[in-house]
């Protein structure tokens, strides 16, 4: 079946604008994860969902970041009042259940804040 998909693939925005990033997980995967990858750095955990609930929001860097998931499927990561330091690749992953070992990643959304 299809892998994890993300949209848009690239996003350029102006400082202060809001952006929404979308993730479609692999069908049947109940767990969904968001990570951020800054240039030259490792992947940084942001948030994960088990079903539609988010047991762990500890990685969200500020209250400008929020995420939701509906129908145990699509997830949206919203960044309000974007700052230049938000520029990064935002990666989404999914797994069959949260305790499963393997997270499968999408291609990412490259966000550039000018």
């Amino acid at each position: 079946g299809a892998g994890v998909s993300q949209s848009p693939s690239n996003k350029v925005t102006e400082k202060g604008k809001d952006v929404e990033l979308r993730c479609d997980p692999i069908s049947g995967h109940t767990a969904l994860y968001w990570y951020r990858q800054r240039l030259g750095q490792g992947l940084e955990f942001l948030i994960y969902f088990q079903g539609n609930s988010a047991p762990d929001k500890s990685g969200l860097p500020s209250d400008r970041f929020s995420a939701e998931r509906t129908g145990e499927s699509v997830s949206t990561l919203t960044i309000q009042r974007t700052q230049q330091e938000d520029s990064a690749v935002y990666l989404c992953a999914s797994s069959f259940i949260a305790e499963a070992e393997t997270q499968y990643f999408g291609p990412g959304t490259r966000l550039l804040v000018l």
């Binding site: 767990a31 994860y33 030259g40 992947l43 955990f45 762990d56 070992e101 393997t102 990643f105 291609p107």
Partner: protein
């Protein structure tokens, strides 16, 4: 706090020249150690999961091994298509489903 350190940061090899990449980790109860490869402009692609010291897994020219403190990814007779960044990550048993990643090793295979 879980930590992962990968070395070297970058490695250049001649085609056919075997080598090993290192991943050192500290974690509160290892749930699994994961190797991914990441080509430029793409998301990480899963390679292996290792669960306990002494475990080994192989796939084509790659072999991953695990000890209590580190993992090695051995690359045998690499080809130019083996030139992505290799990422190592650990998962913890203690109530947190996230993976903690290292910064990766950028591998370049020269024809």
């Amino acid at each position: 706090e879980d930590q992962v350190t990968q070395s070297p940061e970058a490695l250049r090899l001649q085609e056919g020249e075997s080598s090993s990449l290192n991943c050192s980790y500290t974690v509160s109860g290892l749930r699994g150690l994961f190797w991914y490869r990441q080509d430029p402009g793409k998301g990480p692609e899963f390679l292996f999961t290792l669960y306990s010291a002494g475990e080994e897994k192989e796939k084509e020219r790659l072999k991953a091994t695990l000890t209590k403190k580190e993992s090695f990814l051995h690359i045998t007779a690499p080809k130019p298509e083996d030139s992505p960044t290799y990422l190592c990550a650990v998962g913890s048993n203690f109530g947190n489903e996230k993976l903690t990643f290292g910064t990766g090793t950028r591998l370049t295979i020269i024809p």
